[in-house]
């Protein structure tokens, strides 16, 4: 054995350090900073940032074949387990009664998906191949697990920038949406008050809703079944009222552990070679475009509904149809309330917002189905 050869070995960490590593570590630090000090989706961006840091320490091997991050990736991202388990927890936190009380709000959940397909088209125009363009488009679902699910199936190589874009912009909703709201609605429209005198929703309806929805969506869009069924399973655990243990597990240990591991595993794919290229920049811009287009489409559809209803619907709730549950719903209600301190449209906005959540998952499934068929996967 050559003892002297140990010395270069000792500096291997530094000698293998590339400029790319440095840039990515800087990116990781920025993500961690935003997560901790700006509270931008910290539960996801903090683990993503930390995972990115680890992926760029030379020779640490955590993203290599037997590294911990790679193991988490294989166990939970490649199998899609983590986003689906997160959905079980999210489902157990959603209350669908505002939507069931005003079923017509569900239409806004469709309008808020234009961003997906518009962004897909733009991405194609920018030269992305179809599988990547569709994955970029699904940022417009404005729903983390849906974006991750679809991107993993169609273009896993873009998973990291897509996840980062989806979660970052979701946190920036309060900055992205208000200018568009002001631009596209008149003050008079924003002042519209909506009565909330809903049909009483029975417990039975709330229990059967997740089951019926799983069936309907599953038969219409089989590709959406994993996402919608896990969301609805979580919801059923809550509404059933007889399995509090399982509901609590879904809302706590299952979602917390999955979220931590998902973030680390996504972050660990952020190697310099995969992330530091023009595409990442394009994806960030396209993601922003998707958010804006969703909002615009939602607002315009809200205006249409307002017009058709004879001015009884406040078009602001259209902006809540983009998903980004429950943020967008609250923001729409707050914007109306800012305009008139006696205007409360929270229940309507939350109805549109939960509809947006459903619409996002359905659109994700349709995208998978259509693009999968074309690409022959």
């Amino acid at each position: 054995m050559d003892f002297a050869s140990l010395l270069p070995e000792l500096l291997k960490g530094f000698s293998n350090f590339t400029l790319g590593n440095g840039a990515m570590i800087l990116a990781a630090l920025i993500l961690i900073y935003l997560a901790v000090f700006k509270e931008i989706e910290p539960v996801l961006l903090l683990p993503i940032g930390f995972g990115c840091l680890l992926a760029n320490i030379p020779l640490a091997g955590m993203s290599a074949s037997e590294g911990m991050m790679k193991i988490l990736y294989e166990a939970g991202i490649k199998t899609e387990l983590f986003p689906l388990l997160i959905f079980v927890g999210v489902g157990a936190m959603i209350d669908f009664s505002p939507l069931l009380a005003q079923p017509q709000m569900v239409l806004l959940g469709a309008a808020g998906q234009f961003g997906i397909f518009g962004t897909l088209t733009l991405a194609i125009a920018l030269g992305f191949p179809l599988n990547q363009a569709a994955s970029i488009g699904v940022i417009g679902a404005i729903d983390g697990p849906t974006s991750i699910f679809v991107a993993t199936k169609l273009a896993p190589e873009l998973l990291a920038p897509i996840a980062v874009a989806a979660y970052s912009y979701m946190s920036l909703i309060p900055i992205i949406q208000p200018p568009l709201m002001k631009l596209l609605t008149t003050k008079k429209e924003r002042l519209i008050k909506m009565e909330y005198a809903p049909k009483p929703i029975s417990k039975t309806a709330l229990i059967f809703f997740p089951v019926a929805l799983t069936l309907v969506v599953g038969l219409l869009v089989p590709e959406a079944t994993p996402l919608i069924s896990m969301l609805m399973l979580g919801n059923l655990l809550k509404t059933a009222g007889v399995v509090d243990r399982l509901s609590a597990a879904a809302q706590n240990e299952i979602i917390n552990i999955s979220t931590l591991f998902l973030g680390l595993a996504v972050g660990s794919t952020m190697s310099a070679s995969a992330f530091l290229n023009l595409d990442t920049g394009k994806i960030m811009l396209l993601g922003l475009f998707a958010f804006a287009l969703d909002t615009v489409a939602g607002l315009l559809f809200g205006k249409l509904m307002s017009f058709l209803s004879g001015g009884r619907i406040n078009p602001l709730i259209g902006a809540a149809g983009i998903s980004a549950f429950p943020m967008a719903g609250r923001l729409a209600a707050k914007t109306a309330n800012d305009e008139d301190a006696h205007n409360f449209i929270l229940m309507h906005a939350m109805g549109a917002n939960t509809a947006g959540q459903l619409g996002s998952v359905i659109a994700g499934g349709i995208l998978l189905s259509t693009v999968g068929k074309i690409l022959g996967i």
Partner: protein, 111 residues
């Protein structure tokens, strides 16, 4: 430009399908709420209706107040801070116990 054309076709088809699926969901929701409302006993439905309306108005009013308060408070207010963590119930033991003392209970606790 073939790819762009294809993508426009996908967009049109996709949004059409999204709206189609959502319309079916709308139908399903109407069916569901109608069917389950009819299952509620006819006797107290009128009463229930008005109670529910009152309830929901109360709910809205409460929401309004809380929203307003949150607004006035310092920016660190988290009006919806606590997630609805379910309390862990008796589970196996409890269920079987109940099952023993009541043979045909419909649904007991308002969850």
């Amino acid at each position: 430009m073939n790819a762009l054309l294809l993508s426009l076709q996908i967009a049109a088809l996709g949004m059409g399908l999204v709206f189609g699926a959502i319309l079916l969901l709308w139908l399903m929701m109407i069916l569901l709420t109608t069917l389950t409302r009819e299952k509620e006993s006819a006797a107290d439905s009128a009463e229930a209706d008005s109670t529910a309306q009152a309830d929901s108005k109360l709910q809205v009013a409460l929401l309004a107040v809380s929203l307003a308060l949150a607004e006035e408070e310092s920016s660190s207010a988290h009006p919806l801070d606590a997630p609805p963590t379910a309390i862990v119930s008796a589970w196996q033991l409890g269920t079987r116990t109940r099952q023993m003392s009541e043979k045909s209970n419909f649904r007991r606790h308002a969850q």
